[in-house]
C-alpha cells in the first residue's frame, strides 16, 4: 500500500491549505474591483511577511521539541536596531553587521538553549527573560527611530525587484505592471525548503520529532536529548536573525517598538499550520501556509479599508482558538482509540 494514510495531523495540514485557498479566493471574488485578484497582491503578502516566514520556520523547530520561544520579536527588533545604528552612527558596512547579527543570534540561542536543556528551566520563562533583555538592549543601542539611508549595498538589496515573467496587468493609467518579489522572499523560501528537507531527511531533523514525541523513549533510543533541545533553540535564534535582516530590508529602520507581537504571529502561524504545541508533530510547510493565512487576513482587512485594524488580530485569534480546540479534539479521539 503506497497511499499515505490520512491521519489527524495530515487532516490539520489539509484544513489549513483549504482554509487559505478559500480565504484567498473569497478575497479575490469580493475585492476584485480593488485589485485583490492580481498576482502582485499575493506576492506582496510574501514580501511583507518574508521575515515572519523565517521566524516561523525556526519556531516550528522549537515547538517540535515541545518548547516555545517568545523572544523572537525582540530579537528581530535588536537586529534591526543594530543594523540601523551600525550603519548610520558607527559607519560600519552592512555585510560585517549581518555577520555580527548572525553571530549574536547563535550566542543568544546558545544561552537560551543551555538554560532550557541543561538547567531544565521552563522554556517560557527563559525566553521571557530573553525577550525582556533583547527589548531593553534595543533601547540601550538607541531610543530614537533610526532610518537606514547611507549604505548603498543595503539600500540596493532592499530595493531590488526580481521580476516574474507572467501574471502582469495593465493598471488604470495604462502602464503594464510587471509583478515582482524582493530578495528577502527568495531567502525566506529557501529557508523553508532547507528546513523542510532537514526535518525530513537528516538525523537532527528526525531527532527533533523523537524528542518532542516522547523524551524518555528518545533517551532510551540513545539520543542526546539535551543537546538536541539546545540545538533547536540555537537554530531558531539563527533563523530569527536571518528573519530580522529580511524584516529590516522591508522597514529600513530601527525603532524600539519594532516587531512587537511577532512572537505571537510566529506561534499562531505554526499552530494554524498544524504544529502541535505538545511537540512531536508538525511541518514547516504548514507554518508557511499559517503565515500566508495571517498575511491574507491583514491584507483583506486593509483592502476593506473601513474596518479597524484590530479586526485582523481578532480574526487571527479566533482562527488560533479554532485550531487549538481542533488539536485538542484530535488528541482526545486518539486517546479514546488507544483505550
Amino acid at each position: 500500500m503506497k497511499k499515505t494514510k490520512l491521519n489527524g495531523n495530515n487532516v490539520l495540514l489539509l484544513i489549513t491549505i483549504i482554509l487559505f485557498a478559500v480565504m484567498y479566493l473569497g478575497g479575490c471574488l469580493v475585492y476584485s474591483g480593488k485589485g485583490f485578484a492580481h498576482l502582485q497582491t499575493f506576492l506582496n503578502i510574501l514580501i511583507n511577511n518574508a521575515g515572519l516566514i523565517c521566524v516561523a520556520s525556526g519556531m516550528t523547530c522549537v515547538m517540535l521539541t515541545g518548547g516555545i520561544d517568545i523572544s523572537v520579536g525582540s530579537l528581530v527588533a535588536v537586529d534591526c536596531m543594530l543594523l540601523a545604528v551600525g550603519i548610520e552612527h558607527w559607519g560600519m558596512s552592512s555585510p560585517v553587521l549581518m555577520i555580527l547579527i548572525l553571530a549574536i543570534g547563535l550566542v543568544f540561542g546558545l544561552a537560551q538553549g543551555y538554560c532550557v536543556a541543561y538547567l531544565k528551566i521552563q522554556p517560557f520563562i527563559v525566553t521571557m527573560a530573553g525577550m525582556f533583555f533583547a527589548r531593553g538592549m534595543t533601547a540601550v543601542l538607541c531610543t530614537d527611530q533610526v532610518s537606514i539611508v547611507s549604505d548603498p549595498l543595503f539600500t540596493k538589496l532592499s530595493s531590488t525587484k526580481i521580476s516574474i515573467p507572467f501574471g502582469g496587468y495593465v493598471n488604470k493609467k495604462g502602464i503594464y505592471q510587471v509583478p515582482y518579489i524582493r530578495a528577502s522572499v527568495l531567502v525566506a523560501l529557501l529557508i523553508v525548503v532547507v528546513i523542510f528537507l532537514m526535518l525530513r531527511y537528516t538525523r537532527f531533523g528526525r531527532s527533533l520529532y523523537a524528542v518532542g514525541g516522547n523524551q524518555q523513549s528518545a533517551t532510551l533510543m540513545g539520543l542526546n536529548v539535551k543537546s538536541v533541545t539546545m540545538r533547536a533553540y540555537v537554530l531558531n535564534s539563527f533563523l530569527t536573525s536571518i528573519g530580522g535582516i529580511c524584516y529590516c530590508l522591508n522597514t529600513m529602520c530601527g525603532t524600539t517598538q519594532q516587531a512587537t507581537g511577532m512572537e505571537m504571529d510566529a506561534i499562531s502561524s505554526s499552530v494554524i499550520g498544524g504544529t502541535l504545541l505538545t511537540g512531536g508533530v508538525g511541518n514547516v510547510i504548514g507554518s508557511l501556509f499559517g503565515v500566508l493565512i495571517n498575511g491574507t487576513i491583514s491584507s483583506l482587512v486593509k483592502t476593506n479599508g473601513k474596518l479597524i485594524s484590530s479586526w485582523a488580530n481578532i480574526i487571527t485569534a479566533i482562527l488560533l482558538c479554532f485550531f487549538i480546540v481542533l488539536q485538542a479534539v484530535f488528541a482526545k479521539v486518539k486517546e479514546a482509540k488507544k483505550a
Partner: protein, 354 residues
Amino acid sequence: MSKLKSLTKKQLFLPIFSMILVMLINVIYDMACGNAPLSFFQIGIKNGFLYGRLIDVLNRGSEVAILAIGMTLVVSSSAGTDISVGSVMSLSGGFCCMLLAGYGVARANSYALPLWVGLLGGILIACVCGLFNGFLVAYLNIQPMVATLILWSAGRAIGLLLCNSQIVYVRVPSFQILGAYVGFLPTPILIAAFCIVIAALILRFTALGTFIQSVGINKKAARISGFNSARIILITYMICGLCAGIAGLTATSRIYSADTNNIGLNMELDAILSVALGGNSLGGGKFNLSGSIIGAYTIQAITTTMYALGISSAQAPVFKAMVVILIVVLQAEPVKDYFRKMTAKKAAKEAKAA
C-alpha cells in the same frame, strides 16, 4: 552556620532578601548623591496626601500585587501561567469606559449609565475571560500558556474595538474613586490590601487552598480521591480573571480614561515574575501567597529604583531580565544539585580532616 542554612531554606527568604537588597541599593545611591541616607523610607504629608518613595512603591505596585494573587493560584493548580491578564486588564477597563461614556464617545463629562453598572460590567467581562481560559485548560486539556495566548492577542484587540480605537476619557470626579485618595491614603493601596485580605481569609478558612494544591501536585490522584480537578482549575482561572478585572479598573480609574493600548502592557510578565520571586515553583503544587505579594512589591521597588537611578523606562527591561534569569537559575534543579554536591564534598573533607 546551620541557623543560616535553615534561614536560606525558608520560602520567604528569597523575596525578603531581594527586597532588602533593593532597599540597600537605594540607601547607597542616596548616600552617594549626598541625600539623606534613609530618604527612601521617608514618608511625609504633602497637600494632605501621603507621599514618599515607599508609598509610591506601594501605590504603583497595587495592580501587580492584585494580579499576583490570581496568578499564584493559576500557577499552583495548573502548573502553567495565564499570560492574558494584561490584555484582560485593558479589556475590562475599555469595556467599563465604553459603558460609562457610551459607544464611540471619546470624551464624556457625564455618565451614560450609572457608575456601578460600568464597574460591574468591567469585572464581569474579566470573569468571562477567566472562564474562557479555564474552560480551555481544564476541560480541553490545552497547555495553559497556549490557551491564554488566544486572549493575550484578542483581549486588547476587542478592547480597542469597543473603544472605537480611541482613548476614551471619562471626566467625572466620581470615576476616579478607585485610583485617587481616601483621606490621605491612595485608594489603590487600600484596594490591594482588601483583595489580599479577602484572598488570605478564603484560603485560611476554607479548604480551597488545599484543593488547589492537591490538584497542582497530582491532578489524577486528586481526581481519584474525589476532587473535581477540572472544576477547581476552572475556578482558579476565574479568580485570576477577576483579579485582572479589578486591577484593570484600578489602572483605568487612576488615569480616568481607557488607554486600551497601554493599560496592563507587559503586566503579565511582572505578575509571573512576582510568583517566581516569591519562591513559588512554576511547576505547580504548593504555593505561598505572601511570597508572591512581597515579590510583587519587590518588583515595583526594583522598577522605581531604576527610574530613580536614571535608567529610562525603555532600557529597564534589561535589568529586569537579569533579575529573572538570576532567580530562575538559582532555583533550577541541576544548579541546586550542584550546590548540594559541593557542600557534601566540603563536609566530607572536613570530616576527613577531623
